[in-house]
Symmetry: D2
Subunit: 444 residues, 4 copies
């Protein structure tokens, strides 16, 4: 019953916009410049008429063109850093006596003034929304001027607090969800494109389909990240068997396996504020509660770095004891493979499977990290590499990026922490024995 | 319509508690100690099983007795500060080249690890709620060990972000509000005590009464601060005329004046995270929209420091050119004044009014600040001192603290910023001419 | 998720009141009389400006005093019956050819015009609410003029449709329920009076207490009927053990027994439109789903007719083979029993138990029905008489009405239909063997 | 705030379905036949286990094929009429003393038992929904067996009570409405077909578009009737100017005119239970409140009977003093008119306008009623015929049904009642002078 009260409580959020009608009086007749407005907002005036000032800044910012925004970010960088005198003083104090108080003073003194500015800008109606857009614009600006990255540190710090996982709300997306949210699901799906409303419906409405998203109370109509789930009776080998429009729908009660087949971020401005790991685990918990028959939680994931890694490998003779035939087989384009006979195809598939295992288990970047970004994400979450599916994604993109290979990562809630530790501390990729067997002997 | 979606979105919040059923498996059989749990939460494990770890820490903390909590806060202080090597390195870097990046690095390096710990503790269901309680317990601990104040800096910083005004929701409290919220209104009313449910009803239900509170989406049933409002046709002179049970109810449409007669904070753990100024202004805006006939927004406020200041004044002959008779009149106890005749009472009242004006307009603390805390609050918000009401509060407390004097502060939305500036930058108390006339000449 | 949409959908209900602002224009300057307004509403004008007309009628009706209302009901009786010519014609047609169409025509022709009038009055905002009040006023009027009962037939018919069980909504009442609903629970509790808000809280908030009510979407803040439930580990013997303020609260998960200890109707105007039987069964189903450990569903019920029946019995020697001693023992007032010794009290209690069994199992009214109204209600619902508790209610009322006896009726969902049939068709009171054994042999 | 409580209150509706899990126990092992179930439901058993019985009947009914349903309706007709003995008795009583009580008895005795049966079937979860479907199936059955119409009398009577306008809720449909409701808007639009989601969005999202529907609390996801509205600055002459995808969107605040350009019923099973008149008027009131700048409320309506009436007219020489040239002009197919020059087209248009005026103002069916059904609807609601727009709808259907003519009916809230009376009592079509001038002189 709490929720009714809460729901109602929140109804006021939508109304807040109207609260400022007539508040322009605070700002006087002549418009102040955006930097003056920012200074005012940080000064005592912010106490008196903060909402109106914040709104004025954000509206002015939204009207800026690209060079204007670049100038704005430089303004933040140059004029809204910390007070250097105070900072030097705090450093001195810390040098003399590095106790907890001195650290607190130093931390405070080193906080750029723009952090407080950003917090006060949030007073404006829809402030959070515009600030998220502002960070997306900052990314663009950083391409031109990388030193703006210092600004992003402040955004990131703030958003890390505001979008704390504890504030996010998991919500099922289905065919009863408002259309304005659904259209964002269509737009943001980044893995397996949604072909319009009929396709969307096929992913939401059948009894063996689920979709969940994280929302933040301040961004009501904006999913932050969502995951699409298929309920099945076995770990799937290809995306086509999941998305086949004519497939037979499974009664949810009969499902044993939940397949996370697509996970997409929606907010560029929240890049790096990660929620994906929480999302999968919470959805797994929720599904388990709803459908106690579920005992297997896996992904069906792309292997986006495989093809380009393989190109590198095949270019350098000697690696992996590949024969010349194998080397040339792996060099074939997808188009060329059409005419293969069954035996040849089977051979090629076997070879692709072996190389994919090699790629996922052994390939390391110069930094020592696992190369594949999707693998890093799931392994870092504590999943294990369960199965390699050659021919899992025969779309143009799937063939181009990974020669059609897809992978299942398995989330076994009992092993998550151990798996995570193995990966995080020893850089070990936990994998099923089936996958490990695919590795070619290191020294033949 | 947004709100329905939002409301529903939020329904999941209440459910989150259940999400952890069965998650004890993450934590293993043997219980880890609270410091070990905190370290785990901050380590990579936090990524893997953060919710369960956070919940385990908070549950363990709630079971601690007072000495245990003191030990916990000392643990935070000693073991969860910043990494000193990194901090020294960052200072060095800043010394060499004090650019934006160096500042960012320094700011980050000086952040105590407990800040991230607190952020991660918020992953637990009801986490925000427990963290607010934790800070209240910290205040208690700080009385014994003032150096724990350094810890509070981190709480304060975090709560400043989390309870950003932009996230708060203004909500009307009335007779249709859930009882569990109403009982908190009864409990937290700090100015004019509510004598039970019938008294509460008299403050909520009549057409000429309003009550509003700020809520935060994470603390659903917990008002943060609330204000009680009476709608009248004139600026009131005493609290009794407002709270009189038998008074005639005014149709809201006929009101010209909104009187903020009580404002109370509810969360000790949010002390110093101020919302009161926003509350009054937003309520004023909202009321004006609902009832366009309103043209006057005033408080009816106590003067809590008056009596003790006056005691000091009367003790030192010479001040304010008080005659000996006046001095002795001001020294009378409330009980003694009962037998005054009308003329004597009028004289006494006049004198009290003069001294109250003196107190509010001229009295300054050693720091230079206005002495009266309520005056500082409203003047700092941009209100002006409108009227002094001798005999405004004849309750025992009113007589004891302020010889029965009450004050009206007036919020004129057009003057708020100017008034605020006068007070903030020049320490000037903006007051009506009526109040200013009460001042006794400085040099007779 | 439906519910969010629905909730929002319903938000408009509350707004409907405002829809009529400015509609007075429909009604012209000069006020029409209430009978003229009723005729207009039934005429074609009702199509054009029905809401305004309906509102005008209901407002006029609410302003009527008691004699005015009596006159209004007589107006309904005299002027808004069926059209007699059409009715005679329909009877004739039915006589000639009594087919389905003739019956339909006859049914329609015999419908008093006031039925359509009542339906149209419901167009007014809050119409349903006022019509329910109108029926309550009709009951009062019927005391003076019993022939107005014919009018009630129409109300009853209409309310039977409108308050169809399918439209009612079961809702838990707890400490988070809005105060304006809770105060109605306090007011309407008819069995064991609630002594104010603290007492209410003791019945709602503890983990082993529940309260449920039926609501109708048109009467938002008005519970129609509610039941109070205690969760226990055994069938209780007295009301005091349930309501004891200091009792130990039972964790709900440990409960095996749900005790319906009070059921109260709230709307006099819905008298005779019964929902009580549905309420108990649905609450039983809901509780069973929430707490699978529950296996026993019983009432703790008063026996309101027992004392007066017993008075009759003891007055006529010969009945039930009572000895003279027994007869005089049963004649004692409650006050006199205070001084009984343990043995005498045990004897008295045994005798009261026997007589209560006699009363409940054997006593029949002249109509052949079971005498006790509470027994009729529960037995008619398919409950069985489980236990007789002498000393179950030692309040003044309990002693006066039933010499302190209370009774448990048991709802075993598997036997409800069979029990009901036994009672409905053979007038058999299904009772436990323990109760049956209390019966004194018919022929000693 | 009521609404939160209400919303929550209603959340239970959705849950009711689950309430019956496990209730099959009531119904015993062997399935009873549908007629036996109906008898049981009407008997005392219905009291004891009504929900389960009702659900069993409705589920059995849904499984019936077309002949099965026909048989079911005949069963209702034959076996669930009134008790003839009681009816004869009641007639006799009425003959002897035709007072209010006798009428009440007669009305009750003539009520077919199936009315109570239908009321009890509503106990089943989703009962109302299935009963509405049942009536739609009855319409189909009535085509084969017209005498089943007697059954429909009972449905109609019941639905008239249940779907009383006072219970309906007006709700705005927009782009934030749940997709499952929106797809029904696409499906049910009966006037100007919606071409998929993009077209729907163009009708819902722009600032100068509105859509409203009536809902009933029991049929949550099912709009009963909806109206589409365009906000404009002038009364529109053609549907194309309203639906033009590239048109410039008007800020709502600048609109002076609300155009009801499409109104569609959604529930075949509620045919004849009219809400349309209330819908238009309530939407007009609501829009006026939201946008005080609106001063004109008109429709843009089809003239569905015009073309076929005109064919009749042109076939009979002599009518309307048409010349032979005019007669042949009016006989042209739409295709033939393509090659007309401007003058010829203008002449044809003038002639069509005159004939449309003739049709709408003068044409009467044998029954004396206005011929055009859309005209009857709006005129009966109190609108006046404002303007005839030749070329208003050049779609194939528009040309076929009405030679492209569309019409504006105007709702002036001040004149509604007068207009309605003129139409209802004197059969007068109230029209603007512009329309009246189009009439050709009766005797040239």
């Amino acid at each position: 019953m709490d929720m009714a009260f809460l729901g109602e409580l929140l109804t006021n959020v939508a109304d807040r916009g109207r609260a400022l009608i007539g508040m322009e009086r605070f700002l006087g007749k002549g418009a102040r410049s955006i930097d003056r407005l920012c200074e005012d907002l940080l000064s005592g005036r912010g106490e008196a008429s903060g909402m109106a000032l914040a709104q004025a800044v954000l509206e002015a910012w939204q009207r800026l063109d690209k060079p204007g925004r670049l100038a704005f970010f430089n303004l933040l960088k140059e004029r809204f850093g910390p007070d250097s005198d105070k900072l030097d003083e705090a450093i001195e104090r810390y040098r003399v006596a590095p106790d907890a108080t001195a650290i607190a003073v130093l931390h405070l003194a080193s906080e750029p003034r723009r952090q407080e500015l950003l917090r006060r800008l949030n007073l404006a109606p829809e402030g959070t929304h515009v600030l998220v857009q502002m960070r997306a614009a900052l990314f663009e600006a950083m391409e031109a001027e990388p030193e703006l990255k210092a600004i992003d540190t402040d955004f990131r710090h703030l958003f890390g607090s505001w979008f704390n996982r504890g504030f996010l709300v998991l919500r099922r997306i289905d065919w009863r969800t408002p259309a304005n949210v659904l259209e964002k699901i269509i737009r943001y799906e980044a893995v397996h494109e949604i072909q319009g409303w009929d396709d969307l419906r096929r992913r939401l409405e059948p009894a063996d389909r689920r979709c969940f998203a994280f929302f933040h109370p301040q961004l009501v109509d904006e999913p932050l990240i969502f995951v699409e789930v298929a309920l099945t009776t076995a770990i799937p080998r290809s995306i086509d068997e999941l998305l086949e429009p004519e497939r037979k729908v499974l009664p949810a009660q009969q499902a044993t396996t939940a397949v996370f087949y697509s996970i997409s971020n929606c907010q560029e401005g929240l890049r790096g504020i990660s929620f994906g790991n929480f999302l999968i685990k919470q959805v797994a918990e929720d599904l388990k509660r709803e459908l106690p028959g579920l005992d297997t939680f896996v992904t069906l994931s792309p292997v986006p770095g495989f093809a380009s890694w393989l190109t590198g490998v095949t270019a350098e003779p000697g690696d992996f004891h590949l024969t010349n035939e194998e080397r040339s087989e792996l060099g074939r384009s997808a188009g060329e493979t059409i005419s293969l006979d069954d035996a040849a195809r089977a051979g090629r598939d076997r070879l692709l499977g072996q190389m994919a295992a090699q790629y996922l288990l052994r390939a390391r970047a110069a930094s020592g990290h696992v190369v594949d970004p999707v693998a890093r994400f799931h392994l870092g979450n504590g999943a294990r590499l369960e199965r390699i599916n050659v021919g899992g994604n025969l779309s143009a993109r799937g063939l181009r990026e990974s020669h059609g290979v897809m992978v299942n990562y398995r989330y076994d809630l009992d092993d998550i922490e151990t798996n995570h530790e193995a990966f995080a501390t020893r850089n070990t990729v936990v994998a099923s024995s089936a996958v490990r067997k695919l590795l070619r002997p290191a020294n033949p």
